[in-house]
Amino acid sequence: MTGSDKNRVSAKIDVWIQEYLVFTACFLYFLLGVHPKLILELQFPAFLMDVNFLKDFLQIPGGLMDGLSAFIMRFWLSDFIISVFLTLCCWCVAFFTRKWLEVLTANRFFHTFHLIPAVLLAFLHSQYDFNLSITLAFIVNLAFLNLIIRWNPKQVVLQIIVDIIAIVFLFWITGGAFLIYGVLFGLHELIVKKRYINGLFILVFSSLLPYVASSSIILITLKQAYLHNLIPENSIKFLSIAYIIPLFYILVYVIASFTKIGAVTKSFEKITGFIRLGKLNIRWQCVLGTLLIICGTILLTDITYDNNQRLDLELNQYMQDGRWDDAIHTARQCTVASPFLFHQINLALFQSGTLLDNMFSFQQYFGSSGLIMDFNWRSYSPAKTSDFYWKLGLINESLHWAHEALELKGPTPEILKRLGMAYMIKGDHIAAKRFFLNLKNVPFYEKTADDLIRLNDSPSELAQVRDAQYIQSYMLSKDYIHLNTTSSAELELLLNRNPSNKMAFEYLMAYYLLTGNLNGIVNYLPAFGFFRYSHIPRYIQEALLIASLKSNFDQNKLNNLVQPITRQYFLNYQQILNKYKGNIYDAAPELQAQFADTYWYYLMYVRPEARQSEMKNEFQ
């Protein structure tokens, strides 16, 4: 082995070590920093092992990658598995980039530089909404590029035939992402191989193919033909990074073409010489490069990482898993409020049995919309809306939103199970079976589906299933009309139809609190005895104190219901108001410091419009 060979082997080992370090850091970042299972809260990988379902994927260019990514994501069972997979994807990108650079520069040695696209890709995946299909399509195209630039036939006619076949094939399996292959290979032929006709042909053919396909044989829009799987079609955060990755490769070719020009070559060598820090050997260059790339990535993610989004997704996951206390704890850290967030908070509070004692410890900015979402927010999360109505005992409304979820999110196992269960409980066993048969086609759900099909075939056993028992005990016995609006009338009706529906009762009380309907609360006071509450919940007591300020309120009743400590608390609140002579603006800072979690504060400052039906100066 010559000295130069030894140096080369040693340099290769250095690069392997560098890659090992960078991708270990990448893996740890995914595993410990990103918790990639949260991706599944934003993306819904619906996948069925069914011919009709799979056929759909083959009908559009790039559909195969969509199907493959949906299939792979069905195996994303833990943070560890996902981290390993995503790290592997990033490594593939680095590997193919390195191989491509080697061909481009006639086996010149590279370190650090080839890691840039991989690191950017890791960054994009850490944003949760970046599609896996884009990454897979990208890898396939890079792999093909590496193949073709090594083994492209010499004969021109054969060359063109192979090019056409490869381009059409890649367009079909990867969609618009094939442009990465087409453009880079075209540039390679032009700049590196100096085969101008072939290069131009590839560039022209690649740029026209999506247009021709979308206007003749394939039923997709022009935009979809060019962009599907090339970059995210929906707006995502840091979309520019997604553009930078393909641009990186084009830029390399542009630089490569400039370096062929004498004057430019000299200055380029000066720059690269400077960047290489002249006398540093390859090992130290790798060390510096590794540090640079890891630090750069940490800095980039630190600046851009959206912690609030992560909290939202974590909250969703806790709600899904029934971890109510964790959900409440996470919700306290969320800084961006929405009706959906408050809907989740209130549901978690109800599930943990503290809705009427704790709901105003969160500033209920959205009033009743944060309790029961309006139509637009229900549409934002149809599956969760279906869950909510299921819990409330409104089986048809739960079905309605499960169908909306099926339309918007596809046949995920949760939605198929919900639809099957709902139809089964309604006695529509044939409709139920259809959903269970589809559930059977979801990887890992065969046994669950078989059990449900068996249950569906013997309805007498249904009463022994806990979920069915629950819903059957709350279901309505008489029809009523649902208009996609929110009103207390629905909850009242639900409670009238089934007085033992505790969720309907607590939600009705919460609704009255949020809308300032104190008479409604007073009318339902006997129900607290019916539901065997050990004491009247805190916020009901606080509401009663306000209600008692009306002249016709029975004060004796109040003494039995409101605890002395709440009464004292209310006196303190009034004293502060009196101190500021009833000027609520001046009193605000002091009241906020001491009473921000009270119902009185909510009515006075958070949603004062809720007080409109009540006395204006009831606090003084």
């Binding site: 139509f375 918007l408 139809y423 959903f435 029809d479 009309i481």
Partner: protein, 527 residues
Amino acid sequence: MNFNNYIKIAGYWFLLISIVFFCVGCVTQKNIPDAKPAGRLPGIQPDYSGIVIPPNIAPLNFSIKETGEDFVVRIHSKNGEPIQIENNSGLIQIPMKQWKRLVSENPGEELIVDIYLKNQAGQWISFNPIVNKIAQESMDGYLSFRRFKPLFNLWKKMGIFQRCLENFDEKPILLNRLTQDNCMNCHTFWQNETDKWLLHLRGGPGTAMLLVTDGKARRVNTKTKFSGVAAYSAWHPSGELVAFSVSKLLLFHHEMGEDRDVLDRSSDIYVYDINTNTITTTPQISDPHRMEIWPAWSPDGTYLYFCSAPELESYADSSRSGEVALNKIKYDLMRIAYDPLKHSWGNLETVISSSDIGLSITEPRVSPDGRFVLFTAASNSQFPIYIQSADLYVLEVKTNRWKKLELNSDKADSFHSWSSNGRWIVFSSKREDGLFTKPYFSYFDTSGHAAKPFVLPQENPLSYETSLEIYNAPEFTKEPVHISPQDLAKAAFSEQDALNAKFDSTSVAEKNTNKTNSAKQVRVPSK
């Protein structure tokens, strides 16, 4: 000869013998020597027993719903070679060529399907033969329909497709992924032809009627000061006029039984003249005190049939202020005379009053010979597809006598279309599970009797079991739609050829234009 040559020759012989064995295996039919009679019909899915089929239908593939280890199916008729299929799955996919030959050679004859199975004990069982009849008359060769998942408030993926009924070829006419994911509906063909037809797009900038004439699509905006976005449409036999309804519909949900329901808050009928690009109406079909919907022309063009009910306010529930008694909303079947030469309207008649039939009448369709009017009748509402009691009825025009057809099920049967020869009808039925509509065909004889219906055959008969999509608004056509989905999508957004229809205001001198506003005040009941 060296060793390699021996190997080569042995290889050729092996190949030859394999081919011979394969061919012999294909032509040999299994004999069923001592089959024990089961004494009943076999269970098959879809139910293709006791039906009348057209001589041009695709193979009626089915799955045997019996437990067995081996299955033999023999399909035969009076003329021609019988078809025999043997397998151990019970999935019967009939070879296309053999089926075509057998069915086309036996119009008017019986088509018999014998099914045998070998049970676990090795005993062959024979079932009573399935006897179907092959009609003399063919049905139109194509079926257009809208396919999507059961629709509630939101939709994402939707398309209008055409299926060749003589084989299993299915192609999209238009997919909503080409038209900004909007809603598309009410594809309506002139006399089952495909060179003149229309459909409606809703939602987004493409909202309009998409009119196809002579292979060219144009967007027609029917929204004027008086008329609105077109919904249910009907071509006049002249091919120059389109009657359409403009409705304010409200989707709402029940908490018991069928979830979805639709309330018609206000409807009127208008007529669009495609030659002059004008819209007209008459107070008799756009009466401010009534809701008129579902237009249908008689084949000679001298009558416009439609459904009509008193305005929504008249259903106000006296016990609940401002609310409507939904179950009382019932539509009458009406018709109005029309002079196609003078373009003038004649007398308005009530053909069947909802009080006489006790049901709400919708979706009238006149047979091509003008003898019958096929309609849907349900307990209430103008949207029968969400009413499980919806059934098909037929009216004999000459005698004005109507009857409920024998083909109905206990689930919603609605939205029907006539084959151009009047001998076949297709309709949407939820009979299988009450949720997923599928197209069913029935032979309609000259005396007004409809035979037992059968579902649209599929290459894989099991595909219905797991399909999560519904087939909606089936319409027969004689030929395939030739215009490409891309051209239709292009026309949907093209400003160049788009037309803004003009309204002939002289036709509405008596029309109360405040009608729709007053209807907004009415609420559906919440209790």
